[in-house]
C-alpha cells in the first residue's frame, strides 16, 4: 500500500518524534511512502486571510500527490482537514477546478486522489484485525487518554462519513489494539486551543488547561495525540499552563505511533522518546520492567 507522505510545516521541525515513529510503524505494517520535496504548506494558516489563496496552496499539493498516482497521507490534522476540504470542493466543481488549474504554474489537479490522516489509514486501510497480528509486545497494564483533536474528524462533510465526530471510536480502538486501556473522560472533545495561540495566548492556554483538569482524577500513563499542534499545546506549553492555571500536570504526551511502535516491538530509542519534552522517565521505567 502506497501513500504520498505530506509532512506539512510543523512535523518536520517540531514533531520529529511523530515523523520518526510514523515512518517506523509504516514500515512494519507494510505502508510505503512516496516523498516529494515540492510539497509546501497546506494552506491552513492563510484561510483567515484569503480562502482563495488557501485553496490554491492546497490544490498545488493535491496535484503533486496525483502526479505520483497515489493518495495523500497527512500526519497533521489541520493539514488533513484543509486538504480534504479543498479536495472535496475541487472534485465537485469542475469549473472552479479549471480556474484553479490555470494558476498552478503547469501543475494540474484532476480530482482523482483521496486525503487521509495517518491514524485513519491505520484504522481503515490496514485495519484493527491486521494490526493485532503485528503486535508482539502488548502494553498490558498501561492506560492512555486519547485526544482526537478537532480536524481529524471535522468538518465531517470533508471526510465522507469516517467515524462519528460526536462519538468517535477509531483512536480508542487504535489504543486498545496496543494492549493498553483507553481512558474515557469528560469533555474529551475539547479543542486544544492551538488555532489561537498566536492571537490570544492566555485563552489558548486556558483551553488546554481545561483538558488537564478533566483528566486530573484518572490514573494513566500519557495523553495520546495525532496532531503536532495539539502536542504543542499539551506538551510544549504544559509548563505555561501549569503556571497560568496554578496546577501541577507533569503528564507525558505521546504521538500515537510512538506507543503503537512499542507494541510492534520497535525499540524505544528508535521511536523518538528522547524528543518528548515532558520526560517520560517513569513510563520508560515501567516499560523496561515489563520487558524484563
Amino acid at each position: 500500500m502506497k501513500y504520498a507522505l505530506f509532512l506539512g510545516c510543523t512535523v518536520p521541525v517540531r514533531g520529529m518524534n511523530y515523523e520518526l515513529s510514523a515512518r517506523k510503524v509504516a514500515e512494519r505494517v507494510g505502508l510505503e511512502f512516496v516523498e516529494d520535496e515540492r510539497f509546501s504548506c497546506c494552506g491552513f494558516p492563510i484561510k483567515a486571510v484569503d480562502v482563495e489563496t488557501s485553496l490554491l496552496m492546497s490544490a498545488r499539493n493535491l496535484a503533486i500527490a496525483e502526479e505520483h498516482g497515489v493518495h495523500l497521507c497527512t500526519l497533521c490534522s489541520a493539514c488533513n482537514s484543509t486538504l480534504a476540504e479543498a479536495n472535496k470542493i475541487l472534485k465537485e466543481d469542475d469549473e472552479l477546478r479549471e480556474m484553479v488549474n490555470e494558476q498552478l504554474d503547469g501543475l494540474r489537479y484532476e480530482g482523482t486522489i483521496e486525503v487521509k490522516h495517518f491514524a485513519r489509514i491505520l484504522y481503515e486501510d490496514i485495519g484493527i484485525e491486521t494490526l493485532k497480528d503485528f503486535i508482539t509486545n502488548p502494553l498490558e497494564g498501561f492506560a492512555f487518554a486519547p485526544h482526537y483533536g478537532c480536524h481529524y474528524l471535522k468538518p465531517s462533510e470533508a471526510y465522507g462519513g469516517f467515524d462519528d465526530p460526536e462519538d468517535p471510536k477509531s483512536l480508542d480502538e487504535l489504543i486498545k489494539v496496543t494492549g493498553a486501556d483507553s481512558v474515557s473522560y469528560e469533555e474529551w472533545d475539547l479543542c486544544c486551543g492551538g488555532g489561537i495561540l498566536g492571537i490570544e495566548e492566555d485563552v489558548a492556554l486556558k483551553m488546554a488547561g481545561k483538558k488537564w483538569r478533566n483528566l486530573k482524577k484518572y490514573q494513566f500513563d500519557g495523553l495520546i495525540t495525532i496532531c503536532p499542534f495539539c502536542t504543542v499545546m499539551y506538551e510544549s506549553n504544559q509548563k505555561k499552563v501549569e503556571k497560568l492555571e496554578g496546577m501541577e500536570i507533569g503528564v507525558p504526551v505521546f504521538y500515537y505511533p510512538q506507543i503503537l511502535g512499542l507494541a510492534l516491538g520497535i525499540p524505544p530509542d528508535e521511536l523518538g522518546f528522547k524528543l518528548n519534552r515532558v520526560r517520560p522517565t517513569k513510563f520508560l521505567e515501567k516499560l523496561s520492567s515489563l520487558v524484563s
Partner: protein, 168 residues
C-alpha cells in the same frame, strides 16, 4: 453596546453572503447551539458566535470588522457540526476575517505567517540545524526550493499585506 440605527449597514449581510464561506449567514434563526458548543466562549465571553451572526444580520459592519473578537475562533468546527440551519459558522468566521483583511484590518500574527510562507514555503524554515538534527535521528533531509508560495501569494495580492505591514 447600544445599536445605533443610523449607523447600521443593511448591505453588510449581503456582502458576507457573497464571500466564500459566508453564503448561508441569513439562514440563522438564533437558536444559540453554536454559542453553547463553542470552547472559546466558555473561556472568553468576547467571542460569541450567535452574537456575531446577529450583529452581521443587523448590519453592524464596523463593530464586527474592527473587533478583536472575530480573530478568536479556533476553527474547531464544533458549532458547524451542530448547527441545525447549516450556517457553516467556522467558514463564516473565515469569510468575516477575509472581509476584515480587505478593509485593512489584519491581525499582525497573519502578517508574520505570510512572511514565513513567502520565504520558506512553510511556517518554519528547515535549516541546517534542523536537517542535522533530522539526520542524526535517522530522518531524511528536506531541502525545499522555496518561493513557490511567494509567487502564488503575489498573484492573489496577499503578499502585499506583508510588505505594507513590514514598512509600518
Amino acid at each position: 453596546m447600544p445599536v445605533k440605527l443610523e449607523k447600521l449597514d443593511p448591505e453588510f449581510k449581503f456582502r458576507v453572503a457573497s464571500t466564500p464561506g459566508g453564503e448561508n449567514v441569513t439562514r440563522c434563526f438564533a437558536c444559540g447551539t453554536c454559542t453553547l458548543s463553542c470552547p472559546v466562549r466558555e473561556i472568553d465571553e468576547r467571542f460569541n458566535p450567535r452574537r456575531i451572526i446577529h450583529m452581521i444580520l443587523l448590519g453592524m459592519k464596523d463593530e464586527v470588522l474592527k473587533s478583536d473578537f472575530i480573530w478568536l475562533c479556533t476553527a474547531c468546527y464544533a458549532c458547524s457540526e451542530r448547527c441545525p440551519q447549516d450556517v457553516g459558522i467556522t467558514d463564516l468566521m473565515n469569510a468575516l476575517k477575509n472581509i476584515a483583511v480587505e478593509e485593512g484590518y489584519v491581525h499582525p500574527s497573519y502578517i508574520e505567517q505570510i512572511k514565513a510562507l513567502s520565504q520558506f514555503d512553510g511556517l518554519y524554515e528547515i535549516g541546517d540545524y534542523d536537517n542535522k538534527k533530522r539526520e542524526k535521528i535517522g530522518l531524511p533531509r528536506i531541502d525545499r526550493k522555496g518561493a513557490v508560495l511567494k509567487s502564488i501569494m503575489e498573484r492573489t495580492g496577499i503578499l502585499g499585506l506583508a510588505q505594507e505591514g513590514g514598512q509600518e
